[in-house]
Point group: C3
Chain length 267, copies 3
């Protein structure tokens, strides 16, 4: 399986997919740079008037609600609808879900368009699951188990592959689950690395129809690159720089030597 | 006193306060990273619909008018009002005050909500003082003295602690004044370091009720980190990176050895 | 001629022109930092209400349509009109021209105000030329020749100096053409370096009335700095940092030793 993931990384570099981003102001520069570093071509465009055209010329769309407002929400909804209608993959990053009614309402509207992948932290994934109104009965002995149950509920309801980022990244769909043990705690001291991971997932969705495999490959590349980058970083400022370098120059040998990934067929 | 300041730095790291930012597009990434580097948790949110909820869940609010427009001005006013009503601390960064009528009018509206701290350069602080209409009689032999008189006027009128950034940073309230001699001229070649200093002040306001002490601690940490970072920086690009590293890993020994601060009770 | 270009670089450092930017969200931080690194003073301001005042206090205006929407388009048009009326230089960066009707329509409206310089890649310059409706007869054996013909058409129609960025940067007006062979392919893996080049051109327009010479000097500084920066860069993350360092500390010796520029009077 690791060979398949590495092939996808090479495929992004070779095919340089166009990835449309409606994302938040904080991370626009860094996510565009992350996409360029892995060999993809980012387009950042949010005007409602051009949404349909931009979705059309791109191979995937990334929607991130981090700094939402009414005008941007309208464009996000148009983009999600357009992607669904054109059968183009799209990924949702529900930044801050649970922190305000506006975020919760926006996420619920977006979920109608059945994102191919949802990527968030455990808190955001739990918020989304609670909104579906069917989380009664979710009962768990730890946060990780609870987040997995929330992810399964989202998968059953919307058909989405769900990626739960954390110390261990968890990726699941209806029949498979992966646990990724790469990454480093210092990554949490850099703003928007989760958002960049989402954008990188978008690039892999653009070239791989199996959304679960696309998400696993993207997260493997991203979390491992962060872990390797951290070895050269004196602090969070350097980590941001070294992460972009490593996303660009990670080698096959580094990938196979350091990847710590368990992929399971679920019972 | 230096011991008290260092205790506050440790307290930010330990308590990781949530800091709400309505700030400008240019610096969002860097100010969020500065907050993360010192151990705080930034939330960047500007939609009017969620302002009240976000102010409620945060321990301090930062308002920076750098790239204002009508929609953002409305949210800034709502946030300032909400912070005042909820007795949450907020800090104003009047970027570019004096450069346009729009900025001047916005600042005057915001000042009604009596910011706990105002941080700007001498030109901005003088602009604000001139707007209060009572600066007649301000007469000085140098810009620094003039800015201090302007700061005192703002303190008398709005009750705010005032921080005047420059080669020497000056922090004052009704009975105290501090002179901070750290920093480096290269910091002026990096965009938005003043904005980041304001955000860092916001984090200290979140954990310290004495707004003057909070501002002194924040500026001491920020200007000293910049000075130490510059020693490893070949130019302004590296300085931005090294500053985030140093905000993250500054040690007690570095702080006590290099801090150049005079704190005075005013006559 | 190289001596004249270096004199202009020194002049920007000495005179520190105020440069007004209405640019895209992705690159605001980096373009502001590029302007600071060369010694200029950036002002990022987009509110329609303050456009006229900001254009007035600045020595040049940069308009970049990268993340346009209706509100920003109105401010761009106001700024271009204001610059033209006040006889202040302005430069257009038609990011993504050709990718959507909205971008094409916006560019056509902006071109009415006859930008002093237009800077884009070959694809964008060709899109602009096609919009003028008189490109029939453009016929060429390669993309570079075609882009030059498009640039000449734009120059004849709007009077603008045209800069076509690429592996070789081409700058032309009605009687002159320059070929600049500096730069490095890794620069394409960093987002917004074209946008930063445009902003740097804006700073040179602020201090040099010959718009062709201003554009050549700016592109020489920028592309050469990128090439030299790349020698110290392990990847695109470091390149962004090192580029800002080099824009700040490039020496006369480096400039004269490494500049690869052919300037021609056209037949």
């Amino acid at each position: 399986m690791k060979e398949q993931l590495w092939e996808l990384i090479l495929s992004v570099r070779e095919r340089s997919p166009l990835v449309h981003n409606i994302t938040n102001y904080v991370v626009m520069n860094n996510t565009a740079n992350a996409l360029l570093a892995i060999g993809a071509s980012p387009i950042m465009a949010h005007a409602a008037e051009e949404t349909d055209e931009i979705v059309s010329i791109c191979q995937a769309t990334v929607i991130n609600i981090g700094t939402l407002d009414q005008a941007w929400i309208q464009s996000m909804l148009l983009a999600a609808q357009s992607a669904r209608e054109k059968n183009k993959p799209w990924i949702l990053d529900p930044v801050g879900a649970g922190a305000s009614q506006l975020r919760n309402q926006t996420v619920q509207l977006l979920l109608q368009y059945k994102p191919d992948v949802i990527r968030g932290n455990a808190s955001e994934i739990l918020s989304l699951a609670n909104m579906t109104g069917t989380t009664k009965g979710v009962d768990s002995t730890n946060e990780s188990t609870e987040a997995i149950q929330a992810g399964r509920l989202l998968n059953r309801t919307y058909g989405s592959t769900v990626c739960i980022s954390g110390q261990t990244d968890i990726i699941l769909d209806s029949s498979r689950i992966s646990y990724l043990y790469n990454g480093h705690p210092l990554m949490q001291q850099v703003t928007g690395l989760g958002c960049s991971a989402t954008a990188v997932c978008g690039a892999f969705l653009a070239i791989e129809q199996d959304t679960y495999i696309a998400a696993v490959a993207a997260m493997a590349l991203f979390s491992l690159s962060g872990e390797l980058a951290q070895q050269h970083a004196a602090g969070p400022g350097s980590l941001q720089v070294e992460l972009l370098n490593k996303l660009y120059n990670i080698t096959e040998d580094e990938f196979f030597t350091h990847l710590k990934l368990d992929m399971h067929e679920q019972v």
